[in-house]
């Protein structure tokens, strides 16, 4: 197809190929279809898949109990109170939505940049985006206190004369998340159409033929279908790239628009975009490293892909380091004594381990990725990625909790301790993320077959 990605690059040549030289379009199709359709019968899914699903469902159960108790008892079961009225719910929302960004950066931004390595990763990355966005969307609704009235967020004609306050970043956030989640699902599904058609045509079992046939909607690969497909996909990518930047800028403005200490800064929109890129690339690499051997993707996801992702992780870590430095600079260069007091509290106070953990996990450890040998060593890269995700969570904690706990008025200082219900809800969303992703891994091809066939060219 003329999506352009890699069309002018021989991806199977060189010392470090993007695809192993012996691979052909036919072998690619065969390998991916066998992994998804499992025509040989046998176990419905590999043992590792069942084990991971079992753990994920246990976590989902924990989250379900937590939500049920929340609906019964109300927000009082959480540790949030005055002055820390935003706790785990908002920080987990921001954390998950940042994780979701990685897929969009890879699938849309690097599509526009014509990066050929992106083709092997975009389906996996976009699938991770969907699962993370699903988890993110849960928290603001639960935080409402009366989640059954979530539709009040929509600006709709009503008898109460109620309109959203359009000058508030919190309202911008609603539109941003609505657009981002909707567009991400549609972009993912549109890119999947040709592969669903392939699975439909290769399926042996009746239920698979019906399942993939309905999802493929009748895509048959006619010249007319392809002629319009390429331009639409290209424009979608061109829209998704600025969309993901706008979403994280608006999330940053949720905080910058508030007068709380440590928040009221024009630096926040790019700060949040950098953080989103860092956690997004970390989750892709974290999942890719074990999934590559598990699904037998080595011929198509080579060391070069791991190397590129490691470089991106390092680059985004350096961007985040710049944001942290500017945060310190603007605090101590600025006129606000309360900001400086709060920052000293971050460095030495009750939550100091959170701040220093953020620095170590997001900035210090990723510097190991300067060395290629380390970038290609999964035993080192995997803990770095896990550390980055934990570090980004700690960053959200220190932005939200330490700022609210140490405001301008000394009489309003307080502290926040999450309860077991908040921890169990976080575990529940991790389980939900894993469950959704495992189901996608099982039923959806994790390689974009149509795009990769175009890269491999016309062959047997």
């Amino acid at each position: 197809m003329t999506r352009g990605v890699g069309m002018d690059v021989d991806v199977t040549q060189g010392n470090d190929p993007l695809i192993y030289p012996q691979e052909t379009p036919a072998s690619l199709t065969e390998r991916v279809c066998v992994a998804t359709l499992r025509p040989d019968g046998g176990m419905w899914a590999p043992m590792w898949w069942w084990m991971c699903l079992g753990v994920a469902l246990l976590l989902v159960g924990m989250g379900a109990v937590s939500v049920a108790w929340l609906f019964y008892a109300g927000l009082g079961i959480w540790g949030i109170d005055w002055p820390v009225a935003w706790g785990f719910d908002i920080l987990n929302y921001v954390w998950w939505i940042a994780i979701a960004s990685g897929g969009t950066f890879i699938s849309a931004l690097f599509f526009l940049l014509r990066a050929p390595w992106r083709t092997s990763l975009n389906r996996l990355a976009e699938s991770l985006t969907l699962c993370a966005a699903l988890c993110a969307a849960i928290f603001p609704i639960l935080h409402l206190g009366r989640p059954q009235f979530f539709y009040w967020l929509f600006p709709y004609p009503n008898t109460m004369g109620l309109w959203a306050q359009f000058r508030s970043p919190l309202v911008w956030d609603f539109f941003a998340i609505l657009a981002y989640v909707t567009c991400s699902i549609l972009f993912w599904y549109f890119g999947l159409l040709p592969d669903l058609a392939t699975l439909r045509d290769r399926a042996q079992r009746r239920w698979q033929q019906v399942f993939y046939g309905v999802l493929a909607l009748g895509f048959r690969g006619s010249a007319r279908q392809w002629r319009h497909y390429g331009p639409v996909y290209g424009v979608l990518a061109a829209l998704m790239a600025p969309l993901v930047v706008s979403v994280h800028s608006i999330v940053g403005m949720d905080f910058a628009g508030g007068a709380a200490t440590g928040w009221h800064s024009t630096e926040f929109p790019p700060f949040f975009v950098f953080g989103a890129a860092l956690s997004g690339f970390a989750i892709v690499l974290l999942v890719l490293l074990p999934l590559r051997p598990a699904l037998g993707l080595e011929p198509y996801v080579t060391d070069r892909h791991v190397d590129v992702l490691g470089r991106l992780l390092l680059t985004s870590s350096l961007c985040v380091a710049y944001a942290y430095v500017m945060d310190v600079f603007s605090t101590f260069y600025g006129p606000d004594q309360a900001d400086r007091t709060m920052f000293a509290f971050r460095l030495h106070g009750l939550y100091a381990p959170v701040y220093w953990g953020t620095i170590i996990l997001n900035i210090v450890f990723p510097q190991l990725l300067w060395w290629r040998a380390i970038r290609l060593n999964p035993a080192v890269v995997w803990p770095i990625c896990l550390g980055v995700l934990v570090g980004m969570w700690l960053e959200r904690f220190q932005i939200i909790v330490t700022s609210l706990a140490h405001t301008q008025l000394v009489s309003a200082w307080g502290q926040y301790t999450p309860t077991v219900w908040e921890w169990s809800l976080l575990c529940g969303t991790i389980g939900l993320f894993l469950t959704a992703f495992l189901l996608l891994v099982r039923f959806i091809p994790m390689l974009a077959m149509a795009e990769m066939r175009a890269m491999l060219g016309d062959g047997p």
């Binding site: 197809m1 003329t2 999506r3 379009p25 036919a26 199709t29 279809c33 600006p155 004369g161 109620l162 309109w163 306050q165 359009f166 000058r167 970043p169 309202v171 911008w172 539109f175 609505l178 657009a179 909707t182 567009c183 549609l186 972009f187 549109f190 040709p194 392939t198 439909r200 045509d201 290769r202 046939g213 309905v214 909607l217 009748g218 895509f219 048959r220 690969g221 006619s222 010249a223 007319r224 279908q225 392809w226 002629r227 319009h228 497909y229 390429g230 331009p231 639409v232 424009v235 979608l236 829209l239 600025p242 969309l243 706008s246 608006i250 149509a450 066939r453 175009a454 016309d458 062959g459």
Partner: protein, 162 residues
Amino acid sequence: MIVAAFATESAMHDAAAELRRVPGCAVETYGATQPQEEGAWSILPLVMLGGGMMGGLGGFGMQAYATTISYPLDIGGRPDFSWPSYIPATFELAVLGAVLAGIFGYFITMRLPCLYDPVDDAVAMRDVMAGGHVVVACTGDMSGVREILARHDPLSIEVVGS
């Protein structure tokens, strides 16, 4: 209709090009990747531009109406028509409108979903999305078309439908 499968994309295009010169013969090609076509053009990017403009203008209008006519709020003494604050939601709704217009415009233009088409009855169609190359010709002159297809070394030729 006559359905012919070919081993290579170039053979398929050569056969299709020759068939298009036959009067009254409707020709369509099928393949697993997008064919390289000179001068291929799609109206859907323009449809997406229209959808984006509708989404953006609709979003801006909704905010302007709400804050100046329906429910003006005094926020820190700012004017009711404080348009810079409308921009984020306007942008998000413009993107949403463009994406919806593109996806659903594609479905409408391609008449999808279409879960059955007479061409599906051809055995050769089962390999299209796995790397096959197929030409489908609808014509009254079956023997003439079959003769043209045969000149391009097809893997198979089938007659399906009425």
